[in-house]
Amino acid sequence: MIEEISEGGQPMDMNREQLMRRIQEVEFAVIDINLYLDTHPTHQQALMDYNKLTQELMNLKMMYERQYGPLTNFGNAPSQYPWQWIESPWPWEDEFTCKEDMPCGFMKRN
């Protein structure tokens, strides 16, 4: 059973960094439950957790994109004027997505 954890309070009060981190956390959990369900398709608790987190993930992404622009391009999210996709930082580009406790690629910004 997924515990109710909401770091940094309600999504409405989260800043960009917290919102992005929460999206990463929820999306990762959903992937892992997805894999579990692939081999346990009738596990009701797993399915309930999956659906609950999927809903939360959709809400978080919608909230993020409304405030900070699209997370993905090629028709996955609408854009305000002017075209938002080329605005820095890209979702994976900002320093907050690459903390010292989580090694990952880092793109240089001007």
Binding site: I2, R21, E25, F28, A29, D32, I33, H40, Q45, M102
Partner: protein
């Protein structure tokens, strides 16, 4: 066919009680993973798994 000899199983993995009775040689059997001991989501992302049962990091000292 007998159950696997516990002496040859890693100590931290409990002997599964739900192996089929007629296990065959040269076949791989994977114990059913219980849906339990889920990490908090922030911890899961850092550890690379949601399931505490699957969290078995390599020990850097054992080379």
């Amino acid at each position: 066919m007998n159950m696997p000899n516990p002496k040859h199983m890693p100590k931290h993995i409990p002997m599964p009680m739900y192996m089929p009775k007629d296990i065959k040689l040269a076949r791989a059997y994977i114990p059913d993973q219980p849906y339990e001991r889920l990490f908090p989501l922030d911890e899961a992302l850092k550890k690379g798994t949601l399931f505490a049962n699957l969290y078995q990091p390599y020990d850097r000292r054992n080379k």
